[in-house]
């Protein structure tokens, strides 16, 4: 009697253990993948045109990168600083006119533009841009070759704790916990 009960329970239990193991591996796999491809931006922003053609420095738009924790997203007004006049430069990209219309409409309606964030740090960590820029690190150290990127950006580095700590060690920077976890 006892044996029958045990075997009756053992089959579903084994199935369950196997299923849990499968799910655990699957979840770990999904979470460990790099974040790509990113969802589409509301307006296609071509960094390469702004950097290569217009010759803008990163801090021309991201103007607080060397002053505070966030590089700062340019406001719509700053886009319009040029794009109230500039409507076409070089070979026209498909959809460029529509994108420009979207931008101008946002300005007309005094509406914010919701961009898609493509870089993500783990939870419980602070990253402050200013000291990194002030230490002389070029932006592409972490962000890759943004200046030649044509559409949505992708995160090129893991930007996890191991990544940060190895770079901090290599540059003789602080590695105390509170340097980032505060």
């Amino acid at each position: 009697m006892m044996g029958i009960r045990l075997s009756l329970l053992a089959v579903p239990a084994l199935l369950l253990v196997g299923f849990i193991a499968f799910v655990t591996v699957a979840v770990a796999f999904v979470l460990s993948r790099p974040l790509s491809p990113a969802p589409a931006e509301p307006i296609v922003f071509d960094h390469s045109v702004h950097v290569q053609v217009a010759g803008l420095d990163c801090v021309f738009c991201h103007r607080t990168a060397d002053q505070t924790y966030t590089p700062g997203l340019p406001d719509v007004q700053q886009c319009m600083f040029c794009h109230s006049v500039v409507s076409q430069v070089g070979p026209e990209r498909a959809g460029y006119a529509e994108d420009l219309t979207k931008l101008r409409a946002a300005w007309q309606d005094q509406r914010a533009v919701d961009w898609v964030k493509n870089h993500r740090l783990p939870d419980h960590v602070h990253f402050v841009h200013a000291p990194h820029i002030q230490a002389g690190l070029p932006c592409d150290t972490c962000h890759g070759d943004v200046g030649n990127s044509k559409g949505s950006l992708t995160q090129v580095r893991a930007l996890n704790m191991g990544d940060c700590v190895s770079c901090h060690r290599a540059n003789n920077a602080l590695t105390e916990c509170v340097a980032c976890h505060y």
Binding site: L16, V76, W107, W115
Partner: protein, 772 residues
């Protein structure tokens, strides 16, 4: 403990065994995990975490995580203190006093602190709205349509049929309202329940000046204050508090304590019927019969004259005719202060110089208000306090020209306006910063507004008056607006406080002066030619240019741009050297000959008590009741929050068997109200004291009370429309009252007594003794 012994398997109510339960849990978790990840293919985290907002405009000074500080002028009351507001990422976080400002010297009060809460209050009117009178429903409307409608209404009407009803406005704002109403021909009335018109009249009679004087409390040795709660909220409370600190113990300015070297600690005597914060801080408190403060001053004057204790020069210029008829015994009976006490105060006041007599507030809010305050002001002449350090300093003419003089609130004017509205003679009423439906209930403005074809309010909150308007065009709040203020009283020299928009407008609001300029432009004719500026800012710049050309004072710059920037940075302009020349006396009236007890509404036989409605420390006369911080801050003497109460004397309470929290019906000839009792040892036995500020019935915001659920009681609704006989200002202290017990009780929301007092073991008990 052995966990195996616990009879868990049997005890689960759903009949599951522990093993089955754990199995089920595991299975459920696994399914949940699959479902969780399965829903988000490719992107484990989505939604708002991946959104970044590119704002439409970022101010140049916005630096994430960094703070900025901007100077401006507080609009919480009429004092005109300077503020410095801490801003982070475009948001006002904290308001503090401007350390450079000569009025408040870095200090601030609760009302100033709460400007940031008012700014972000969810109850603000967020854009122009129009009300359908038939359904009493509001619907949004664009500024363009609203302005077109207002212009049409103003064109259809004439100046004679239009009213401009405002609260106390000052500086450039007053100038614009003045020019607009004169150009259009409309009648302009200002409403301030706590108007100090009787004090202005007294100052005019004694010193020949239209400006309020500065009370140099900090250098005085002896301050005798009548009815004016100068530490609680009277005319310039922050400045008075700073000076009071120096008066008592020295100065903490610039982080260093500078004791009153060589000078004894100042001595404060407060005479009033209900103990105020100033009374609580005083060395001596003289409980007087309401409205008898002038008689008390006359009694003191008679003692000084009889014993020849006064200042020789002061006595020469003092008209002592009226003093001959003063009988000290009669005065003792009228005021309720024993003759010996009056003599002692008179001798102290005359001998401990520099001494200073202050009067106003409740002492002036009687039918004899101006006369009482004249007697009190005249005491300063007797002891030679005028124009001397530690005395009463007369203020020089304002540095800016073209600013209209402060306008008195005459109840008769408002009565006439209400009558005209009721008779249909008023076609357009414009309301800004005034709430006559709440503040003057006896004039029944609600009926008057119903008979007025077009009522437009410029309030940012739906107060009682705005709720009855046809249209509301919300004005900027103080942190969003430009402005300047010529403080009255000034601190003895010329001061102009400057106000600048330090946060971007949060909603679809406009600056009230800008709206008037736009209306003037549309109306054309005299209205337009009287307002030659495009924006309010242009007008203020013009004023600043005039100041720059003076080439004196705290801000000097060779070019205007630098002058303007420095002016805004410092929060104003002042010239400490520009004082009122010495010897500029006035008519020098002494004690008024016809000084008598005031008249009260309600016969003494029917109404045993004097009703003392007093301005609430933070809510004032009800203009700040929509701000929850100010509601929640305990009233300093009773510690009551969020509620009205009636203060009665402990002996009276014992005789009548009344306990704290008992609900009484307080009746006056004008009306009645139900209020919980607070037993206050410092309330005179013949007095029922009620705070102003509560009892809002309109939709002034969820914190003041709405949808018929009012918070507390409007003390002003109990008042008869009695006035000071000279100035016509509301005599809010001139009503008698009685009470009935309702038999009900309520718990009074207060902090006091929630933790009982106890003796700390081993600590000495401090005994408070009376100074001999």
């Amino acid at each position: 403990m052995n966990f195996d012994e616990q009879p868990m398997e049997e005890s689960r109510p759903d009949g599951l065994t522990r093993r089955q339960f754990l199995q089920a849990m595991a299975a459920t978790s696994a399914v949940g995990a699959v479902a969780f990840t399965g829903c988000q293919p490719g992107h484990p985290i989505q939604g708002h975490e991946f959104q970044m907002e590119s704002r439409v405009r970022l101010a140049e000074d916005v630096l994430s995580g960094f703070e900025n500080f901007y100077a401006t002028t507080c609009q919480g009351c009429g004092a005109g203190c300077g503020l410095v507001v801490r801003m982070i990422e475009g948001r006002a976080k904290k308001a503090e006093g401007n350390p450079d400002h000569p009025l408040n010297r870095g200090k601030s009060c609760a009302r100033a602190q709460s400007v940031v809460q008012e700014q972000y209050l969810p109850d603000r009117v967020q854009g122009p709205m129009r009300r359908d009178r038939a359904t009493n429903s509001w619907s949004p409307i664009s500024w363009d349509d609203a302005m077109t409608e207002v212009v049409r209404q103003l064109r259809d009407s004439t100046g004679q049929n239009a009213l401009m009803l405002t609260g106390p406005v000052s500086g450039g704002r007053a100038s614009i309202v003045d020019r607009f109403t004169r150009g259009y021909g409309a009648t302009w009335l200002t409403l301030d329940v706590l108007d100090e018109a009787p004090l202005r009249e007294a100052v005019r009679r004694v010193f020949g000046q239209d400006r309020l004087p500065s009370f140099d409390i900090q250098n005085a040795r002896y301050v005798l204050s009548f009815g004016s709660d100068f530490l609680g909220g009277w005319i310039s409370p922050v400045r008075h508090n700073v000076e009071y600190g120096i008066f008592r113990q020295g100065s903490y300015r610039a982080g260093q304590f500078q004791p009153r070297q060589g000078r004894p600690r100042g001595y404060l005597v407060q005479a009033e019927p209900r103990m105020t914060i100033s009374g609580a801080a005083a060395d001596e408190w003289l409980p007087t019969r309401p409205g008898s403060e002038g008689l008390l001053a006359a009694g003191i004057a008679s003692v000084i004259a009889a014993e020849n204790l006064g200042d020789a020069e002061g006595m020469r210029s003092f008209n002592t005719t009226a003093l001959r008829s003063v009988q000290l015994d009669q005065i003792a009976r009228d005021t309720g202060v024993p003759a010996e006490r009056i003599q002692k105060v008179a001798r102290d006041f005359a001998s401990r110089r520099p001494s200073l007599a202050i009067g106003g507030g409740l002492a002036g809010a009687h039918t004899n208000g101006s006369d009482s305050l004249t007697a009190i002001m005249a005491l300063n002449v007797m002891v030679g306090a005028v124009g001397r350090p530690g005395g009463l300093i007369l203020n020089p003419a304002p540095a800016l020209e073209g600013i209209p003089a402060p306008r008195a609130t005459r109840v008769a004017d408002w009565q006439q306006a209400a009558d005209r509205m009721r008779q249909g003679q008023v076609k357009v009423a414009m309301v800004y910063g005034a709430n006559p439906v709440y503040s003057l209930p006896s004039l029944r403005f609600n009926e008057a507004l119903a008979q007025t074809p077009f009522v437009v309010s410029f309030s940012s909150f739906l107060d009682e008056t705005t709720a009855l308007a046809d249209m509301v065009l919300p004005a900027h709040l103080p942190l969003e607006d430009w402005g300047n203020d010529v403080p009255d009283p000034a601190p003895g020299f010329q001061v102009v406080s400057w106000q600048q928009p330090i946060v971007r407008q949060q909603y679809d609001t406009r600056s009230f002066p800008d709206v008037l300029l736009a209306l003037g432009d549309e109306l054309g004719g005299a209205t337009r030619s009287g307002l030659p500026w495009r924006t309010f800012q242009d007008m203020l710049k013009e004023s600043a240019q005039a100041l720059q050309q003076e080439r004196r004072g705290s801000v000097r710059a060779p070019d205007f741009e630098r002058f303007w920037t420095t002016l805004l940075q410092q929060g104003g302009w002042w010239d400490e050297s520009r004082t009122q020349p010495a010897g500029s006396g006035g008519p020098g009236q002494g004690i008024p000959a016809n000084l008598a007890l005031p008249q009260y509404q309600g016969a003494e036989s029917d109404y045993r008590f004097y009703l003392v409605p007093f301005p609430h420390t933070t809510l004032g006369a009800g203009e700040s009741s929509h701000v929850p911080w100010l509601q929640g801050l305990p009233e300093p003497l009773t510690s009551v929050t969020w509620q009205s109460w009636v203060e009665i004397n402990p002996k009276l309470a014992a005789d009548e068997g009344i306990h704290e929290g008992d609900v009484l019906t307080v009746e006056t000839p004008q009306g009645s109200a139900e209020l919980p009792v607070y037993i206050n040892p410092a309330a005179s036995p013949q007095v029922l004291a009620i705070p102003m500020g509560q009892g809002h019935t309109g939709a002034s915001g969820r914190y003041a009370g709405r949808d018929g659920k009012q918070r507390g009681v409007n003390a002003l609704a109990l008042l008869a429309p009695a006035v000071d006989q000279t100035t016509g200002a509301l005599a809010y202290g001139a009503t008698r009252a009685r009470f009935k017990k309702t038999g009900r009780r309520m718990s009074l929301p207060k902090f006091e007594g929630t933790i009982p007092a106890y003796q700390i073991p081993g600590e000495e008990v401090l005994e408070v003794t009376r100074e001999s």
